[in-house]
Structures are given as C-alpha cells and as structure tokens.
Symmetry: C2
Subunit: 389 residues, 2 copies
DNA sequence: CGGATTATGCTCGTTCCACGAGGATAATCG
DNA sequence: CGATTATCCTCGTGGAACGAGCATAATCCG
C-alpha cells in the first residue's frame, strides 16, 4: 500500500508536462516563467514542455502578455480553446446548476434552475449533461456531481435537506467518461484548502453548516474522503444529546445541535420544515431578540465544541468555516470560542488552530467539484487518454 | 498545495531505483523478478537498477536463491550488509527498547529495559542511541521514537500512563540525522495497515486501547497524523459522560469510558494506579465474575460506539484493533458489536466496515516506527544524501 | 530618444534512465 | 538427459530534461 511511484519510462514520459499542467490549473493566469521557477525547470525544459502541451491542445499561450514589470513579458498559461472540459453538476437543497469548466477553472457555459426536492430532478439534469456532451464531444472528459447529502460511491444514500434516500446519480454518467460524486461540504472544503482560506496550510479542517454539519480534512491538498467518499460526515458523530434521534439512524448526532433544528428546539418551536432558512431567520433576529441570541449562542457553542473535538483528533493547522458556520461565528463569536477552547486538550489551548472564514463563499462546492474532476484528468492515465484520442 | 511531482531530471534519476527499494522494504524476501513484475519493469531495467542499488550499498542479493519452483531461481532482495540503518526507540509506560533496524525490517541489535516512569529515562536512552551511532557511524540514518503519549513535533505533551507533561525527546537526536517522534498507537496502526490486518485495504482505521484509546487513520499507506503528529488522538473526542474530567483538560473524553479507569468506575472501585494492569485483571476475572463481565461489556460497548462514530466520519474500508481492544472484542463481542451498530448511520449497517484483530501484535509500534523512518530515507532527498556520502 | 538593464524564450549538444529484442543461464520435470 | 520454464544479461534505441549561449522584448533612466 505504498504510494505507487513513477517507475516505467511510460509513466515518466509525461511527468514534467503533468507538473506544468497541474501548476497552470492550480494557478490560473500564471506565466510560463512562474511555473518553471516554481517547479525548478530549466528554461529549455519549459520551452519543450509548453510546446508539447500546446501541440496536445492542452494549453494555449495566446493571452496578451501581461506587461507592467521590467524585463521581457511572459504570456500567461491559459486553457486551450479546444482543450479538455469537465461538466459540474451541483444539486443543493433547493436548486441545481450545471456548468462546463475548462482547465484553470474558467466557466464556459452555465445553467441553473430550481427544483422541488424530488429525486426526479436527476433525469432533466442528465439531459443537460447529455446536451453538453453533444455540444463539446470528446472535449468533455468527466462529470463531477456535488450534492448536499451523504455520498457513497455514485449514490446519495441520504440527503436530509431534500429527503432523499438511496438515489443513484449514475443516470448523469455519459458513455465513456467517468462520473464522480461528492458531498458539497467536502468539495467546498477541498477548494477552500487549495485555493481559499486554507491555502498554504498543510492540514486543513473545513466545516460547513447548512442542514447539519459537513466538512472534510484536507492533507497536502488531498481530501481525506474515505473508502466510498463519505469521509467528512462529521455531523454524525455523537457530540450531542444522546436522547435525540437523528434521521440518519444514529443518536446524539452533532448535526442536531448546530443548525436550524437546534435553534428551533432552543426557542421551543416545532421542527422547521426548512432548517436552513429557519436558521437564517433566527440569526437575523439575534440582533434584536435576546431569545434568538441565546439560541444562536447555543448552536455556536455546540459548533465550537465539535471543532475542538475534531481538532484534538485530527490535529489541523487551521480550521476553515463556510455556510451558516460563518454566520454563527460572526453572531456569537464568544460562545463559539468558548466551546472550542473548553473542548480542546489543555496543551492545545495556548495555540489553538486558527479559525478562518471561507474566502470562496458560495463558489466553493463547484470549484471543488471541478478540481476533483481535473485531479482525475491530470494524471498519467488521463493525459494518455487525451493525447491518444 | 498539489502534491509535488517529480519533474526535474534530477528527481527522475532515482525514480525506478526508489520504487524497487520501497518494494524491497515493504516485501522482505521478495525476489528481483517479483519486484519487476509488480512495478512493471522490463528485465533490462531491473538488471540496471539492481546493479545501481548494489553499487550504492543499498541492497544485496547474496541470499541463497530460494529454489523449489521451476525455472531459473531468483535471489532475494535483501538489505546490504553495509546499508542504511534506523534506530528505533520505544518508550512504553513501563519499559523501553532501543533497536537498530535495517532495510526490510531486520533487527540488528536490540536492548530493552524497564523504567520507573520518570522522564529521566530520556538521558540513558540518548546514551544508547549515541552508542549505536558510534558503532554504525554513517550507516545510521535516522532515529524514530515511539511513545505511549500525545506527541507534538518531537515533544511528548502528555503521557497519562507515565504522568509525563511537556517532555522533549530532542536529547535523543544525534547530530546530523533526523529525529522522528510518534505515538505508539498511531505507529502500530501504520504498520497494521501496511503489513498487518489492514494490508490490501485502502483506508484503514486502527484503534488501540491501553490507557485510554489511540489510533490512526491510514489512507493509501500514509498515516493521517496531522500538522504536528498528534493526529489520531481519538481518545479525546467527547463520546463519553460530559460530567467526567479528563487529565487532558477536556471533559467527557472517550478515553475515560473504555479502559481500566472505566471498568474500575463500573465496579465502584477507586481509580487504579495502573489502569492497564487493572483492565487486564478485570478482563481475566470476567470469565467467572458477572460484575467484571458487566464492566467489560460496558467498556466494549463504549469502544464500539466510538468506532461507529469514527466510521461515520472517516469512512474506512476496515477497522483494525490492537492492545486491550482485542481482548475487549474477544471477551464481550456482543456488546462491542451492539455499540458499533447503533452508532453507525443506518445506511452503513447493511455492510459495516469489518473489524479485525491485529496480526502484528506487540511488534506493531516498533515496525511502524521503523517504517516512518524509512519513509524519510526512501525518498529522492534521502537517497541523494546516502549516495553523496 | 536610445542605450542599459532585466527578464524571458529558443537552439543545440549532452546525459541519464528505461525500453525491448535476443541470447545465455540455471533450475525443475518427465 | 533433453525439454521446459523462468530468470538474467547485453546492447542498441529513444524520450525527457539539463545547461550554456544567444536572441528577443519589455522597462528604466540619463
């Protein structure tokens, strides 16, 4: 189970090109000189590699040279106009989005819509994907779906926001190209760790609150998402009241302590139909209503406690937050901090992992989904498949 | 934060050799033909690579060809008699062990002893390490320490079994070679995942009970051990009674529910001085004493609950157990299973990650410590440093 | 405005690693 | 003892990157 290393000449063949391509994807608008400096390539190698990549229709360099500094200007490495694309499908609890994304993250086309929450939405989404494949043909290399629910393989085993259970997303898969499915919070965390608030940190713990808590641990840019992609379902750890039943089938889930359901309980209200909106309302009301303020503080404290527990166990460099977690932290910073510190092991309290709000905001899930798809394409095998065709 | 790829010719230079060397380390007694088959090398490349490795005094092939099958016999890839060594220092709650280990895991020398639990033991251990360095000189490439306590960098911030707090192991570090420090449970888990019960599984969750609970998540053979090496301290997640104070400074830690302290509480006994031995006694008594049986069942159930919670969040392929956890599972399998299943999300219950006892047993921590040290040596930089000298 | 400065890109000969075909070698099998 | 099987070595080939030297394209500054 050691990591497979490049060892055959065939695998080595594209190592340099792969490194440049990955760099170009991770740093849009980087110049060729930036890449060769970052990767330690000689200028001769850079020339050879970029010309190979251009010939393979992977990158273009036609962008106007960004001028302004001294010295000879360097054209930016951009996606090739006939280069590979990925299709990203985002299914949140109230709407959907389908986009075609090129190397570097540029969005070529995008459609959005709303849905009722029924799994029937998968069929029309499959239509959109098929339309993109018809339009772009072989340029479309992968479909990456991003769902607000628990994922196992390409199946959504549970989505509390939409009431889904065991919904397969296989219908989204066009012939001949891979389908990847991920949880929205996990994908947002991946993007946040690579390109957002966690950029530069080796070990990033990301947490989102929408309906329940989700997140992901990202180590060296790789998401720790488990055997089936369900890694990061931190909301179903029993940090809460053991007497409460969770829709997931377990008890005492953290999920139930931090979202709209928790705040409704604190306010002696019935369980809200849409916990996401209800939570937003309570947070908004907290400015003037002490009861709401207390409910928000309770949720923030529970969030902080769980964060501390996870920090004890996973030892991140930094914790990033998105979704309602940012609002909880902004509205009740004291309660969050208090919960966080008391849950930390004593030795950690002198220098706890800093807690940072998302910088990508609502773009996180889509960016992460596109990145995971390109992770598959930007490999020996993926490049091989592209150039062979 | 993308993984750094080999891109320069200098990095590529040793890729094939590195792959063979890693294979030889991971599979002691493998033949050259095995390695070239597993790595997809041509026989010509294998010849070239092995001769380079022999010239660099990294591997020998002088072992008698293992004969018995048809065809020309193939000599096994063994450690070179003047090859690199690592020094492993194991500090458990009652004894210590210092060993020199060669590539492939062979033990060259080993000394053991007992200690009183005082941090003063570090000084004599440093003496043992220095003696090994004097004896082996440049062959000694790294020191890897394995401690029954919470680790941060090269410091033991807390060791409940020995009463340590903020003990630096830097004195163990000889000049010029790296010192690595890890938690015993985490290192045992690494070994178990690569060479033991978890071999062949991509995502392995390992858990140990000694005093408290420790463990590690291992993904693709890499331990997820966080920013400072404290990743895997699962025992300090609040799965337990929130009213109980843990010596770590937090409350409700899982630690307190599964070990000798928990069983003593269940039996209305005072907190034991040596929870490890006390736990063993209770488990032994469970054969005849119903009270002890109930106490064991309680601990096993708490262990199972935490396992389920971690399986929800981390999504392993398999869960491996060592230390007292194996005894708990053997003595009260029903309680463990019950706790495990009820803590799992419903959708997981049809096919929960299998729970397997350790196959390496007490060798786990040392094997893991040696492996982490060789992980550092079996890299471009490590090989470079070796051949330059 | 035009040379100096700075930075980048291209050319070309060299090096290193692995490939792959073909023949040599060393065991077991019948 | 020959046939079979499996492994190992030799040698010519090719790909990828290096690095020195030169060409190119902007800004800076007198």
């Amino acid at each position: 189970m050691q990591p497979t290393t490049a060892h055959s000449a065939r695998a080595l063949r594209s190592q340099g090109a792969l490194a440049v391509l990955r760099y170009a994807h991770a740093h849009p608008s980087a110049t060729r000189a930036d890449a060769s400096r970052a990767l330690g390539l000689s200028s001769g190698s850079a020339t050879e590699i970029t010309s190979r990549l251009k010939a393979a229709r992977l990158i273009g360099e036609d962008a106007p040279a960004r001028t302004g500094g001294r010295g000879r200007p360097s054209p930016a490495l951009t996606a090739h106009p006939e280069g590979p694309l990925v299709c990203v499908v985002d299914i949140s609890h109230e709407g959907w989005r389908v986009a075609a994304i090129e190397l570097g993250g540029g969005v070529l086309t995008e459609s959005t819509g709303r849905h009722t929450g029924s799994p029937d939405v998968v069929a029309p989404l499959a239509g959109h994907v098929a339309a993109l494949q018809a339009r772009y043909g072989r340029r479309l290399r992968a479909v990456s779906a991003c769902v607000a629910g628990t994922v196992s393989g390409t199946e959504v085993v549970q989505a509390s926001g939409m009431g889904w259970r065991d919904v397969s997303l296989e219908p989204l898969k066009p012939d001949g190209i891979p389908l990847l499915v991920g949880n929205d919070a996990s994908l947002a965390g991946l993007a946040e760790a690579r390109r957002g608030a966690g950029a530069g940190s080796r070990v990033v713990l990301h947490l989102t609150v929408e309906v329940g808590v989700g997140g992901i641990l990202v180590v060296d840019g790789r998401p720790v998402n488990g055997a089936t992609g369900a890694g990061g379902e931190f909301g179903h750890m029993p940090f809460g009241d053991p007497a409460l039943d969770c829709p997931c089938g377990a008890r005492g889930c953290w999920d139930l302590e931090v979202d709209g359901r928790a705040m409704a309980r604190a306010l002696h209200r019935p369980p809200p139909r849409d916990p996401r909106t209800a939570a937003g309302d309570v947070i908004a009301a907290a400015a003037s209503d002490p009861g709401a303020r207390a409910a928000v503080a309770g949720a923030a404290r529970a969030l902080g406690r769980g964060m501390g527990a996870l920090a004890n166990a996973l030892d991140p460099d930094v914790v990033t937050l998105s979704g309602l977690a940012v609002d909880l932290a902004a509205t009740a910073p004291g309660a969050l901090e208090d919960g966080y510190r008391t849950a930390l092991m004593r030795y950690r309290r002198a220098a706890p992992p800093p807690v940072l709000p998302s910088t990508l905001g609502p773009h996180g899930p889509l960016t992460g989904a596109a990145d995971t798809a390109f992770d598959v394409l930007l490999t020996d095998e993926g490049l091989d498949a592209w150039t062979r065709g």
